[in-house]
Symmetry: C2
Subunit: 329 residues, 2 copies
C-alpha cells in the first residue's frame, strides 16, 4: 500500500522537525513529491540538518502556521497533509498561554481555513498526543477514554483535533488523528527538555552528565521509536479506512521512567542519574502511568511497533554520537 | 445562604445580556456590589434596557473581554466573578471561526490571566453549555458524558471550561462550571435566532408570524426559565461545596420542540407554525434529543427548577408584550 505514495503530492507542516523530517525522508524514498512547511522558530524542533539526505528533493516553505496566504498556496493541489506543526511545551503553555494558543489554536484553524478555501477534500493526518487524556482513569488507555487535559497545551491539542473533525463535516476533508505517545529517535531537538524528556536524557548520558528524575521514576511510559511512528503516519495517510478515525500508538512494552534512564545510561556507556523531589510546576502536570492500548490501529490497519527499545536506543545513540554538533554544542 | 451576597463584590462578564442582567437584578436585591462588564457589541445580547431597574445601583464597564487592561481593573478585589460573556452562535462559528475564537478563546484566557495577575483566589462561575456534549450517546445526559462537540463554538466552550480548571490548579482560583440547557425568559436579545431559537419563537408568535420548524420537531428539548437558572448561578457562586464542580441544569420535564412551539402559540394567542425541511447547515449541527440529568446539583446544592414551562412562558410573553420596543422593532 505504501507504494501508492509514488508521485503523491504531500505537505508536511512542521516538516523540518523531528517527526516531519523523518517522515519526509521516508516519503522521498517512496517517490512522493514533498513540501515541508516550517517556521524554523528558535527553540522549536525545526533543523535544516534533519533533511540533509533529501535537501535537493523537497520544497521548503519557511513560514508560520498563522500565515494564511502562504498556507493557502501550500495546501493547494496536495493529496495528503501531515499536520505536525505545533508548540509542544506543557510548562510553557501554563507559564504563558499565548504562544501556545498562537500556534496550536490560531495556526491550526488557519490551516483548516486554508484547506476549506483551497483544497476542501484533502486528506489530513493530525499529530495528536497522549497528553489529551491527562491522568489516566483506566490503563491501558483506549481512544474513547475521557479527555482530562492538565495543561493549556493539552487543551489546545484537543481543540485542534476537534476542529479537524468539524471541518471534515463542513467541507469534505478526510481526517485522521494519531495520538502519539513518547517518541524517541534521531532528529529530535536536543536543546531543552520542554518537548519531552526522553530525548534530552540521551544527550545528558552522551555528555556523561547526571540525569535528574523527579520522584521515584516509577511511573510507566510507553516509548515508540521514530521509525514505527512514521510507519503509522504513512499507513493512516494512504489508507481510506483510517478516514474519520482516532488512533493511539503504543509500544506494547511499557517501562518505568527509571528503567528507561538506566537503559539509556547502559547503552550510552556514560552518564548517571539521581532521584530528586518533584518541582511544584512539574508535579502539577505529571500524569502518572501512561500505557496505551493500540489494538485499534493494529486491527484496522495492521500497524504494530517493530523496533524494540534496545534496538531503537542503540540507533538513536549512534545517530547523536555521529551528529552531535548539529543538535547541541 | 443567599443572604451572604450582602456587600459581596461581584463582577459579571456579559453583564448586560440575558443571563448577566437577570443575575445582576437579583444580586442587587441581595445587597451585593455589582460591576457589569460588557462589550455591548452589535447583535450580541447586551442591552442597557435590561438593567433599567438597577441602572443607578451598578457599575458598568464597556469593554471587550480581550481587553487585558480593563479586565485586570475589573477583576481586582472582586469576591465572585460570574463569567457569562461570549459569542454563542453555532452557525457563525462554523461560517467564520475567528470571531468565536476571539471571544471564547482569547477573551476567556485574557480573563483568566487577569485573575492570575490581579486576583488569583477569586471564585469564578463559568457559563458552560449543553452544546459541549454534542449528540447524546445516553439520555438523560450526566456531567461525565463524553464531549463530542459539533461546531467550533462548542469546541471553544469546552476549551474555555478546561482552561478554568487548569487555572484553578495554577493559581488558587475556585471554579464552577454550569452547563446550561435552553434558557428562556425576559431580557434575551430578540433580533436573530443565532443564540437559540426558543426566545425568537416567542417574538414570532407575538408578531403573529409563522414559526418554521426544521424536520418533524420531535427532538426533545429541556427548557429552563431564566429565574431558575439565575438561582443556580447564585447557589454555585456562594456555596464552597460547588468549587471545582461541573453541574448540568435541566427541567425534569423535557418537551419536543414542536410541542414547545404549540404552547408558545397557544399562550401568546397568536402565531402559527410550519414544518420545513432541514437546511444542510442546520442539520450538521443538530444534536437530536437533549435531556439533562441534573441530580448532581439537586443533591449537592439543593437546586431544582421551580417554574413550570406554562408559568415561565406566560411571564416571558407578558414581559415582551410590554417591552417589545426595547427588543425589536
Amino acid at each position: 500500500m505504501l507504494a501508492d505514495y509514488k508521485n503523491k503530492k504531500i505537505l508536511i507542516t512542521g516538516g523540518l522537525g523531528f517527526l516531519g523530517s523523518n517522515l519526509a525522508i521516508k516519503l522521498v524514498e517512496l517517490g512522493a513529491e514533498v513540501e515541508l512547511y516550517d517556521s524554523l522558530e528558535k527553540d522549536q524542533g525545526g533543523n535544516l540538518f534533519n533533511i540533509k539526505p533529501i535537501r535537493q528533493q523537497v520544497k521548503i516553505t519557511k513560514a508560520k502556521l498563522q500565515n494564511a496566504r502562504q498556507l493557502k498556496k501550500a495546501v493547494k493541489d496536495k493529496d495528503i497533509i501531515f499536520n505536525i506543526a505545533g508548540h509542544s511545551s506543557h510548562l510553557d503553555s501554563i507559564k504563558d498561554p499565548w504562544v501556545d494558543v498562537e500556534t496550536n489554536i490560531i495556526g491550526q484553524l488557519t490551516l483548516l481555513e486554508a484547506c476549506r478555501q483551497a483544497n476542501p477534500k484533502v486528506k489530513i493526518v493530525y499529530a495528536g498526543t497522549r497528553a489529551q487524556y491527562g491522568k489516566l482513569q483506566t490503563v491501558p488507555v483506549k481512544e474513547d477514554h475521557p479527555l482530562n487535559p492538565l495543561d493549556i497545551y493539552a487543551v489546545n491539542k484537543i481543540s485542534a483535533e476537534q476542529y479537524h473533525f468539524i471541518y471534515q463535516k463542513i467541507c469534505d476533508l478526510r481526517v485522521v488523528s494519531l495520538r502519539l505517545n513518547n517518541t524517541y529517535g534521531p532528529r529530535h531537538q536536543m536543546k531543552h527538555t520542554k518537548y519531552g524528556v526522553q530525548n534530552y536524557f540521551i544527550r545528558l548520558a552522551l555528555d556523561n552528565e547526571e540525569i535528574k528524575i523527579y520522584g521515584s521514576g516509577e511511573q510507566l511510559r510507553d516509548f515508540n521509536y521514530i521509525d514505527d511512528v512514521i510507519e503509522a503516519f504513512l499507513l493512516t495517510g494512504i489508507n481510506p479506512r483510517a478516514d474519520s478515525q482516532i488512533y493511539n500508538l503504543g509500544s506494547g512494552a511499557p517501562i518505568s521512567l527509571l528503567d528507561f534512564v538506566k537503559k539509556v545510561i547502559e547503552l550510552a556507556g556514560s552518564g548517571s542519574f539521581q532521584l530528586v523531589p518533584w518541582s511544584a510546576e512539574r508535579k502539577q502536570i505529571e500524569v502518572g502511568d501512561y500505557v496505551a492500548d493500540f489494538n485499534k490501529i493494529k486491527q484496522e490497519l495492521g500497524w504494530q511497533p517493530q523496533v524494540s527499545l534496545d534496538e531503537g536506543l542503540k540507533m538513536t545513540i549512534d545517530f547523536y554520537k555521529e551528529n552531535k554538533k548539529y543538535y547541541w554544542d
